[in-house]
Structure formats: structure tokens, C-alpha cells
Amino acid sequence: MTVTNALSVAARTMMAEPLAGGRFGEFGGRYVPESLVAACAEVEEAFREAWSDASFRHRLERLRAVHAGRPTALTPAVNLSAELGVTVLLKREDLAHTGSHKINNVLGQALLAHRMGRRRLLAETGAGQHGVAAATAAALFGLDATVFMGERDIERQQLNVFRMTMLGAEIVPVRSGSRTLKDACNEAMRHWVTAAHDSYYCVGSVMGPHPYPWMVREFQRVIGEEARAQCAAELPTSVPTHVVACVGGGSNAAGTFAGFVDTDARLIGVEAAGGAAMTDGTAGIVHGYRSRVLQDEHGQVAEAHSIAAGLDYPGVGPEHAYLGDIRRARYVTVTDDEVVPALRRLARTEGILCALESAHAIAWVLRAAGTADLPTGSTVLITLSGRGDKDMPALMATATR
């Protein structure tokens, strides 16, 4: 095969269906106990069938419109653009029902679980946004919801914990390991082994065993597809020069990138400096997939630390590891110290209080604007993955310090 052939094949297959076994290059796969292999295969089969069924897609589209409030707006950040000398467009996932992009994925998976005849959703959550989305969808579909959450995250995200209980979900505090999202994932998996016959594991990002990274990206693709059409209407160039999204597990970034992967736009994923699996991670296997993982020199998974609980995760979706390897996407980091001022600046220039996770994407744009990374005159699409209500207690603490 010639080089050009190889490249065009890569371009066509990028962010399409993964290779056999759920591979994105060498990443992905299904590294689960034998007890869970059948459950994963069942989800894969059900998803393939549903995704090729027009009535499933139609129901999902209708749910997105009437329940989640889609399409979400594309808001030009007029004042910030003038200050930075780059055109900033915000894809407003903060305006989606429950306050983040997580609802897109959960509506898809809950519809699938319902179709599979399951009666309970299992979910893990860090910031609580996925837990709230799962509790919401469970209520809507008449399913039970059991949400695993690290004790430390429970302390940090009390508002979302309360929201979940209001929605009727059962919260299971996880006390093992670092008592954060990574341990909640382990616990959810362990529980899934015992409950696979009647429960559906609703994974919260583009992570976990095949088919989850693929399926979640497909459910989040709506962000990128809407934004692509909205940019075409908004921009003389039709496609922005840069597309920027924050990366925890990587679902809002994957959904956004999927809409632009076949364009010339530069794709930039922004990680938290304390949880930067793409930047600091090495090849590893955790939570059922092979990717880049933060680990120590002995192969023990490291604890991640970020002011944003949703980015406080030592792994990253396998497709990001692949996109990074083939250099289709670039991954950068920002520190906690850059994030809070970025959040404030967006609030004051545009009247939008975004989530601390989303503020990572803003922080990178603030830093890069006018440099070679983001030259003056660029057009940049930023996905605002969520709204900041859940983070106000944390910000109140920093404000009084």
C-alpha cells in the first residue's frame, strides 16, 4: 500500500467504527473478567442492532429535542473575541437539560437499556453530572438507578448528590483506593458482574470495554454534527480553524471532534495538568480498555488531582490515544491556577458561568490566543461541556481564601 493510500484509508476510517475487537489502533479492546465478556457482547449486539434501526434513531432524536433541549445554541463570544483577536464560538452543552453534555450519552444508553429489557441502570460518577443524567433518564424510563461515587467526590459535589437523590437514585459511596472516580469505576464493574442479568451498566464517558468507547462517541457525535452545521451558518469559512474541548474521559471532546475530523480544523483536547493521561500517561490497561494511563514506575495507577472533579481521572478514552498517536488531534494541559480566572473571565465578558471542566478549554484559548498555537484572526469553536452551578461551592471557598 502506498503512503497516500494508507493516509486516505486512515482519513476515511477515522472516528468511524473501530477495528475488530473494538480497537482504535493498538488501543481499546475488552479487558474484562470472563464473567463480563458475555455482558459486553450483549451490549455490543444490542447497540449494533439499535443503531441501524431507524425507529431507535428517531426516538432518540425526539428525546433529544423534547427532553434534553437540543439542538443547543452556538453562541459567539463577542466580547471575548474582541479582546483576544480570535473569533470564539461556544457550543452550549451547558444549556442541555441537567446542565451538561452527559445527557446526550445517557439518553442513548437508557433507550438501549429499555430496549434490552433491563430494569436498572448502574453508573459511576465523578463530578456528579453523569450520575445526575443517569438518574434523570432512569426516572424518565421507569428504571431504577444505582450510582457509584467516590467518598471524596461525594464531599465535593454535594449539590449533585442531592439532585440524584431527588431523582430517586441510590448512591453507593465508594471507600476504596483514592475514593474518587477511578475507584467508583472499579466498584461499578464489580457490581455489574453480579447484576448483569437484569441491570445495564451505563458508562459515563468514552472509556470502558468495547463497545462503550465507540457507542458513547456515537451518542455524543450530536455535539459535533450540530456545531458543524451551526458553524457553517455562522462563519464565512464555514469550518473553524480550531476546535477545542476539555478531556476527562474524553466524551465531550470525542463527540465534538467527530463532527470535524474530516475537515482541516485543528482538534485540541485540553486536560487538567493533574490528570493528564494523554500528556503524562503511558500505555496501560484500566477499567476494561487499553489506552494511556497515569501510573507510577511500578505500573500502579496513579491518583489524578484536579480542581474539576470530572477531569480527575487517570485514564483517557482509547480513541483519543489513537488520535494523538496519528497526530490528528493535539492534547495540551492547563493548571488549576489558570482555570478559575478563565471561568471568571468568561462569566464577566459573556455572562456565562461554565463548569470548571469546561473552563479548561477556555483557559487554553486565553493562553494560546495571539501565539503560533492560535494566531490572531483564527476562528475557534469551544465546547462548553457544562454549566457551573455544581462548582459554585468550590468557587465560594476559593473566593473567601
Binding site: S35, G177, R290, H298
Partner: protein, 322 residues
């Protein structure tokens, strides 16, 4: 087979001396590793010969699992759980183990229940690493007459590299390996790497495994087939899951190496019942709990001996078929 406890276990003085010299001589570790890789790197001809003979004859673990003529007992010990953890290993042997399963602790033990999670946390908090545990193991190698099979998670294998990891295990005298989050579809380079190092790669079957897949797994498993008794993580249970008996029977019918039931085998009576359907049992959480609760090696030997006696009584009643 079961050496007297006194000779099987080093005295306190010896242990202290060894621990001191280990920390004082960082070069020793390196030397071991290098020596291992030298001996483990055969020429092309040797590789071919060994590969051929491997398919023809079972490895050391499988030989031990077939040869005992009584239900097999494989107790589990978490490596590095205490400073003198190798004494627990030797106590298991003294109590009548046919092989011992050595857990290399991992930070995210997806398939383990609270007891083994706690044990792993405790070992890691003590600073246990794969390298330190295998070095400890090497120091008691001369006293071990039964095979050691390592149980650990895929990340530790990938981190070291499959080939290097297997060579390191072999150099420490390990003859079997269980990686519960590597199902048969994901064995990749580990399967040939294990074979090259003479390590039996033990595969697992679960109650949810379809019949055709059970046959596939049994055909590729080496050493023994690990029949996971229940749909759940490791941990003690009041009763043995009835599905274990069916699963073990199906796995035995598939041919392949001996079938051992593991997960939730908590009492000698449960072990005896499991052994009625399989070739033996793996006992983990029930023993690890004893160690976490501060059991002495002698106490652990007694507990293991209790399982041994129950299993042997099964054989005397003639309830096992092979």
C-alpha cells in the same frame, strides 16, 4: 511433601538479615534480572525445540495439578502483605497445598472483593512492588517444593512488557500465571511469551461463558482451568454457588487441563463439595482474611490443613472421578 514447619520457615534472625541485605544492595536486584534475561534468551534452534516440546508435554504447574491423585488444593497469598509474607507461602505448603497462588497487588483490582482489596492496599502501602515480591520469592525458592502460580492484573503485565514480565516470573521460579482481566480474546503476545518462558497461562471460565467458548478456553488454558464459581467478585460466601458445579462439569467435559473451582470457596465443607465436581479448589479470601486479622504462619498452616483434610476425606469417600 509437607516439610516440617521449623525447617520450612526461616528464623527471625535470618529474615532480618536478608531484609537488611536486600535494601542495602540495590545492585543485587539488577543482577538477578540481567541474569534471568540472559538465561531466558535462547537461540533460534533452542526456541524451536522448546516450543515443540511444550505442546507435547504439560508444564510444571499442569503436572502438579494432574499428578497428586487427590483433589488439588491451591491456597492464595497476597505478596508483600506483611514483611515476612513468604512465611505464609511456606505455611500453605506445609499445610498441604499442591500449588500456591501468589497475588501481585494492583491498585485497581477490578475483580476482587473487599478482603483481597484490603490486602492489596495493605501490601502497596507497605511499598510492595512486583520486583520486591519476586525477590522475596527467590529467597525462599529452595524451600518451595510446590509450584507457584502468580495472579495479577493486565496492567502490571503490559507495564513490564509481556516478554520481560514472563522472563522475570520464570527467573523467580514461578511456573504459572493468571490474569483475570485478560480474556481469551485479548491474550495477544502474552500467550506466546508465557510459553517461551515455560509459564503455564491459566485461563478462566465463568458461569456466563457459552459452551463453545468454554471449549475454546479449555483448549488454550495451561496448568489448569480456573472455573469462577459465581457471578461476582472474590470474597467469602455462605454457600457455594450451584452454578460452580455445572460449570466445572462442562469444563471437564471439554477436555484440556484439570479444572479447579475458585471464588467463594470459604470453608472446608464447601471445598469438599466443590472438589466433588472438579479436580480441586482455589481458596483465597478465607485465608487472606486470617492474615489480615493477624494470623501467625502456624495458624494459617492449620487452616490450610483443615481444607486439605476435608478434600482428602472426599477422595476417601470416592466422590472424585479422576
Amino acid at each position: 511433601m509437607s516439610a516440617p514447619l521449623e525447617t520450612a520457615m526461616p528464623g527471625a534472625l535470618e529474615t532480618t538479615t536478608r531484609a537488611a541485605s536486600e535494601t542495602a544492595m540495590p545492585g543485587a536486584l539488577e543482577t538477578t534480572t540481567r541474569a534471568a534475561s540472559e538465561t531466558a534468551m535462547p537461540g533460534a534452534l533452542e526456541t524451536t525445540t522448546r516450543a515443540a516440546s511444550e505442546t507435547a508435554t504439560p508444564g510444571a504447574l499442569e503436572t502438579a495439578m494432574r499428578g497428586a491423585g487427590r483433589p488439588r488444593l491451591v491456597p492464595y497469598v497476597t505478596g508483600g502483605i506483611t514483611a515476612d509474607w513468604t512465611r505464609y507461602l511456606l505455611a500453605c505448603q506445609a499445610g498441604g497445598a499442591d500449588a500456591v497462588e501468589l497475588g501481585l497487588p494492583f491498585s485497581d483490582p477490578m475483580l476482587d472483593g473487599v478482603t483481597i482489596q484490603r490486602a492489596s492496599d495493605q501490601a502497596l502501602a507497605r511499598g510492595a512492588t512486583v520486583e520486591k515480591i519476586l525477590t522475596d520469592l527467590t529467597s525462599v525458592r529452595d524451600q518451595l517444593t510446590v509450584p507457584v502460580v502468580v495472579m495479577t492484573y493486565a496492567n502490571l503485565v503490559v507495564h513490564a512488557g509481556a516478554t520481560a514480565f514472563c522472563r522475570r516470573l520464570a527467573a523467580a521460579g514461578v511456573t504459572g500465571l493468571i490474569v483475570p482481566d485478560l480474556p481469551v480474546d485479548e491474550l495477544g503476545e502474552l500467550e506466546p511469551a508465557a510459553a517461551r518462558s515455560g509459564i503455564d497461562l491459566v485461563l478462566l471460565v465463568a458461569p456466563s461463558t457459552p459452551a463453545a467458548r468454554i471449549r475454546q478456553i479449555c483448549a488454550r488454558s495451561r496448568g489448569f482451568v480456573y472455573a469462577v464459581s459465581t457471578m461476582g467478585p472474590t470474597g467469602e460466601r455462605d454457600t457455594l454457588d450451584g452454578r460452580a458445579v455445572v460449570l466445572a462439569a462442562n469444563a471437564r467435559d471439554a477436555g484440556g487441563p484439570p479444572v479447579l473451582i475458585g471464588f467463594g470457596v470459604s470453608t472446608p465443607a464447601q471445598a469438599a463439595r466443590a472438589a466433588g465436581a472438579a479436580d480441586g479448589v482455589v481458596v483465597a479470601s478465607a485465608l487472606v482474611r486470617e492474615v489480615l486479622d493477624g494470623a501467625t504462619p502456624e495458624r494459617l498452616r492449620q487452616v490450610v490443613a483443615g481444607f486439605r483434610a476435608a478434600l482428602d476425606a472426599t477422595r476417601l469417600r470416592g466422590t472424585t472421578s479422576r
